[in-house]
């Protein structure tokens, strides 16, 4: 029975996923070698080199993967809450007892090894999410259940942010992806995306432009739902006219009291009363959604300044401002991103060859073996290498989503989507920051960046999905 089960497992695991995983890990190991190789070292295989350490981590990760595969599927279902609770405890412990690295108090130190609990908490949170959302009575659009999910996400998020490791924390926001898949009302998804966009936009655009955008956006979304474009356009024109009129009149009565922005805001808010009465009369309840959205965003925007000043720390503020092009300082704040772009851009089509990348070899790119590992790939292997890695990662994510769709039980599906969303977020932010598309956040490129915690955590996370998928196949064999 045992032997049968063992051989059966090797047949049932999704070999495509494992192949993609192995290829990506190998690519990572090669890149770390290129990024940390030093010429003229006496002992190339000395254990002090990053690439030798990484080889060890790969070994450990594979053993962990094997263990994960050998455990029973029900074990993960069972483990979800205890693991989640343990994860939270670890985070709190790290907050109190942990070691500070790069300003984030998010590490445990055991001798010469350091462990970042946040990496493992992602697994626990994914499992807890899957467990909560797969409960029989769970309905995603019921506020009480949604609150439960929100708490599952927010508890670790808050602690991680308290650890000053904002980057790792924000990763958990990617679970929105999963919520959408599980049927979260799109009118709740869109505002969240919108708020994030507006938060960024509020640094680049003047309040006036923001306000106009907001009015147009809300009116149009309402018109999308109910039609009647003509009256909505008349409504907007009337707002503009009234605002200008009010501003002019006030200019004569009390000059300097009311700007055009203030006038537009006043007129719009006043008009909302009329709109509310109108909605009630004609029984178009859904008008209240864009109305609520408008007011909510308005309130939120007034707090962005406060959030920016007080929640984000100066270097994070600088990174965002420099990313948005508000400040430019190639030798200071922009240095990393600038050098990273130079390294990737100088790679060309085919790259400079293994160990030949000058920007990496001579240390112009900081953190080239961890967060900026994509530079090494881009410079040494060029566009071809970078595309290969990106395609592999993309296939892995799509494969995970595919695996999730094949699951019979919501637990497996939700878990697979959680993993996919975490991976997607990591790739987007990490690669995005090396090529100047994203502000700099200290999160690693999965399976490729140097670091034991991240590699082992991502491996375990992936292989739990593979294990769930494998058990599903056994059932399907039995049933059909």
């Amino acid at each position: 029975m045992t032997a049968n089960r063992y051989t059966g497992l090797s047949e049932r695991v999704d070999l495509w996923t494992i192949l993609l995983y192995v290829l990506i890990v190998v690519a990572g190991a090669v890149s770390i070698t290129a990024a940390s190789y030093k010429e003229n070292t006496a002992n190339v295989f000395a254990f002090s080199h990053f690439y030798m350490k990484q080889l060890l981590w790969i070994g450990v990760a594979w053993v962990a993967a094997l263990v994960v595969l050998l455990l029973d599927k029900r074990f993960y279902h069972m483990l979800a809450y205890p693991a989640y609770a343990a994860g939270l405890c670890m985070l709190l412990a790290a907050l109190v007892l942990g070691k500070e690295v790069n300003g984030a108090k998010a590490w445990f130190e055991f001798g010469s090894f350091r462990v970042q609990p946040a990496e493992f908490v992602k697994i626990a949170t994914a499992l807890a999410m899957a467990r909560v959302m797969s409960a029989y009575t769970f309905s995603i659009n019921r506020p009480r259940d949604l609150l439960k999910v929100g708490m599952v996400i927010c508890a670790p998020l808050m602690i991680i942010i308290l650890q000053n490791d904002t980057g790792s924390g924000i990763v958990l926001c990617s679970f929105l992806f999963v919520l959408y898949r599980e049927g979260l009302n799109k009118w709740l998804c869109i505002p969240v995306v919108l708020v994030a966009t507006l938060f960024i936009a509020s640094f680049m655009l003047s309040p006036m432009v923001l306000l106009i955008l907001l009015i147009v956006l809300c009116t149009c979304s309402e018109a999308m739902m109910n039609g009647m474009w003509r009256s909505r356009i008349i409504y907007m024109a009337a707002l503009a006219l009234a605002a200008i009129l009010l501003c002019t009149v006030m200019h004569f009565i009390a000059p300097g009291v009311l700007s055009l922005y203030g006038a537009l805001l006043t007129v719009t808010l006043l008009s909302l009363v009329g709109v509310g009465i109108y909605a009630d009369r004609v029984n178009l309840r859904n008008i209240f959604i864009p109305m609520g959205l408008f007011v909510g965003v308005l309130l939120f925007l007034s707090t962005t300044g406060y959030i920016f000043e007080n929640v984000l720390r100066p270097h994070q503020q600088n990174r965002i401002l420099s990313f948005l092009g508000v400040i430019s300082d190639p030798r200071g704040i922009d240095y990393n991103v600038n050098q990273s772009k130079i390294a990737i851009g100088s790679g060309g089509l085919l790259g400079k060859g293994f160990l030949q990348g000058t920007q990496i070899k001579y240390g112009f790119v900081p953190e080239r073996h961890t967060d900026f590992i994509f530079c090494t790939i881009g410079e040494d292997w060029g566009f071809v290498g970078a595309m290969t890695v990106l395609v592999l990662l993309c296939l892995l994510i799509l494969r995970l989503m595919h695996m999730g769709e094949l699951q019979q039980e919501p637990f497996g599906r939700i878990y697979c989507y959680c993993v996919a969303s975490i991976l997607l977020f990591h790739v987007l932010v990490n690669v995005g920051m090396t090529i100047g598309l994203m502000p700099v956040m200290g999160i690693p490129l999965p399976y490729i960046s140097y670091g034991g915690s991240s590699l082992i955590a991502f491996t375990i996370m992936l292989f739990i999905a593979v294990r769930l998928d494998a058990s599903m196949r056994r059932f399907s064999l039995k049933n059909y």
């Binding site: 992806f177 959408y180 898949r181 049927g183 050098q339 772009k341 130079i342 390294a343 990737i344 851009g345 100088s346 790679g347 060309g348 089509l349 000058t358 920007q359 070899k361 001579y362 240390g363 112009f364 881009g378 060029g382 566009f383 970078a386 595309m387 990106l390 395609v391 990662l393 993309c394 994510i397 799509l398 989503m401 769709e405 989507y417 996919a420 997607l424 790739v427 987007l428 690669v431 995005g432 090529i435 100047g436 598309l437």
Partner: protein, 609 residues
């Protein structure tokens, strides 16, 4: 079923999101790597450092193979400020090792701090010994660069050889092929043959890491080049003659130029006062240069090619030759001279001599009156329609002797002298002038201005009986078969060679029989000479002497000009004679004359006010 359908739609949307994310990332990567070429340049700028290797500058030899200019190894001390260790370094030690003043070092370091990443020169002219000691000390951030500086074993030829200097910002504006830190010849031979002497800079492209440490050469040195040393020049100068010339001219203001008539090679060119060219090399250069600029006698002014002197009586040779060619004068023509020439109220004085006299004797004794007749006959020649035309013809002759224009020698700053034209006199005399008005031109006075080089060239023309080669200073350039072709062409004057013999005879008689130049006599050398004494507004007359020797197949033609030296025979003649003696016989048999010249004391009220 509708639930699973909705889930399917959502899965497709999410797949779309995933693919969209990757397409955006891939597109951006493609933009960076395939389209935007700036990053490659920036990567190179990051990692490559071009290290210039300077070539040794070409050396200059004299005609006998002795070094006039040598290149000496020396080093520039460079610093990259950002690479100096955080704890600083032992400034005192460095000053001690390199012999720098601490103040200067600190000033240079303060300048270097402005651009901490860029290499900057801290000190020049560090000797090889100091450099070796410096290398042992191993100061972080400092390194030395090989350069060469000039060295002058004979200490002669200051203005002649010129000096080398670091390029100035102004020079760079007009010469984009030079870069800051390059050396360039700024006068004399150094500037005339700059392209030959400078050689080619080498460059080694090195890869540096983010800390600026050199990691190796770029592409295994594929784009590197070795410095090519400058070519050497063999100059036409005879350094021993030059040395003697400078000794003899010491204390006098003026110039002496000697030419080999058969080739146009300049054997010697002294501009006095001169300076030791070594003074314009090394750290004291700036101070010395300022001192020279402040000297009222102008040691930096190359009188030999730039000064405009009235030629005085030496110009009578030209007048005689023009008269002969124009047919207004025959060698046997006699003119009377009783202490001068008189026409109406105009009187030109002369010294006492027999009368009447012919052309040969007139040249020998330098009779003013005789050449007044000749000059008036030229200008008032009935074949010309009036004095303006006669004067134009005369001017054309004079210019064919190389006066009033640049000879085209290899000195870039050669002066052209001055020969007035008819328009000039029209302006000055408001159109009413005649041959009498300009009579002072007949004896080389008036508005005439000649450079000593032009006068030496006149001596060469007479020596050659009617032609000259453009005087030049370089005999041979390493790696080239020939010089510029203009130096190989005979330039004939407008006077036919057959007319020269009576003039030469006159010059010979002036030395050998009876005349103003008898003290230039040298046994067996057949010296021919013509003195000149030029009035001037600055004090005593200028003393000048034109000479060549021997009479047949002359080997040397010389002109000496001593400002305020008095009679031609009293200052210029002995100098020229000694130089001829030394050049032709290699010895000086007249030590008393040598003493006389060296002890000659000339007063220069104009300069020493």
């Amino acid at each position: 079923m509708s639930d699973s359908y909705a889930g399917h739609i959502r899965m497709r949307v999410l797949q779309g999101v995933v693919i969209a994310v990757f397409v955006v990332l891939a597109g951006r990567v493609a933009w960076l790597q395939l389209y935007d070429a700036r990053y490659e340049e920036m990567a190179k700028a990051n990692v490559l450092r071009h290290v210039v290797e300077y070539p040794p500058r070409g050396e200059v030899l004299d005609r006998n193979g002795e070094y006039l200019v040598q290149s000496r190894e020396c080093y520039d001390l460079m610093v990259i400020y950002s690479e100096i260790g955080k704890r600083g370094f032992d400034t005192l030690r460095m000053c001690e090792v390199l012999g720098l003043s601490r103040k200067r070092l600190e000033r240079e370091l303060a300048n270097a701090r402005m651009r901490p990443q860029a290499p900057r020169v801290v000190a020049n002219y560090i000797s090889k010994e100091d450099k070796l000691r410096f290398d042992e000390c191993n100061f972080r951030g400092f390194y030395t660069v090989y350069r060469t500086v000039r060295r002058y074993p004979n200490h002669v030829g200051g203005n002649l050889l010129g000096f080398v200097s670091e390029v100035t910002p102004n020079y760079l504006k007009y010469h984009p092929d030079y870069q800051v830190g390059d050396y360039v010849g700024l006068s004399g031979v150094e500037s005339a043959y700059e392209p030959v002497l400078k050689g080619r800079k080498g460059v080694s492209i090195q890869e540096v890491d983010t800390h600026g440490a050199i990691k190796g050469s770029y592409m295994d040195g594929f784009f590197d080049s070795l410095p090519e040393p400058g070519q050497y020049l063999v100059s036409t100068i005879d350094s021993r003659l030059q040395l003697l010339g400078e000794e003899l001219m010491e204390g006098k203001v003026g110039a002496a130029v000697a030419i080999e008539p058969s080739t146009g090679e300049i054997l010697m060119m002294v501009s006095s006062p001169t300076y030791d060219p070594d003074e314009l090399v090394g750290r004291e250069r700036g101070n010395n240069y300022m001192k020279m600029l402040g000297n009222k006698r102008g040691p930096l002014f190359n009188r030999a090619v730039k000064a405009k002197y009235p030629p005085g009586s030496t110009f009578k040779l030209v007048q005689g030759l023009i008269g002969l060619q124009e047919g207004v004068l025959r060698p046997s023509d006699l003119h009377a001279c009783h202490m001068g020439y008189q026409a109406g109220r105009m009187k030109m004085a002369c010294h006492y001599h027999a009368s009447p006299i012919d052309l040969r004797f007139a040249v020998a004794t330098s009779c003013n009156a005789y050449f007044c007749y000749v000059f008036r006959d030229i200008l008032d020649n009935p074949k010309y329609d009036g004095v303006r035309e006669g004067f134009a013809a005369w001017k054309e002759y004079v210019e064919s002797f190389g006066f009033g224009r640049k000879l085209g020698s290899d000195f870039l700053d050669e002066g052209s002298g001055y020969v007035p034209d008819a328009d000039f006199y029209d302006r000055r005399y408001r159109g009413s002038w005649n041959s009498l008005t300009v009579l002072s031109l007949s004896i080389g006075q008036g508005e005439l201005g000649c450079t000593p080089l032009q006068l030496a060239n006149l001596a060469a023309i007479v020596a050659n009986r009617g032609y000259y080669y453009i005087p030049h200073i370089v005999k041979r350039i390493e790696g080239r078969d020939s010089l510029d072709r203009r130096f190989y062409e005979r330039h004939y004057t407008m006077v036919e060679p057959r007319h020269f013999e009576p003039i030469v005879e006159g010059m010979w008689r002036g030395v050998h029989v009876d005349g103003t130049s008898t003290s230039a006599y040298l046994e067996g050398l057949d010296v021919c000479g013509k003195t000149g004494t030029a009035q001037n507004p600055h004090g005593k007359d200028h003393s000048t002497f034109l000479s060549f020797a021997p009479r047949n197949n002359p080997r040397i033609a010389i002109s000496v000009y001593v400002e305020n030296g008095g009679f031609g025979a009293s200052a210029a003649l002995p100098i020229a004679s000694l130089l001829e003696e030394f050049y032709l016989t290699d010895t000086i048999q007249r030590p008393e004359l040598l003493e006389y010249v060296k002890n000659m004391n000339i007063h220069y009220p104009f300069y020493d006010r």
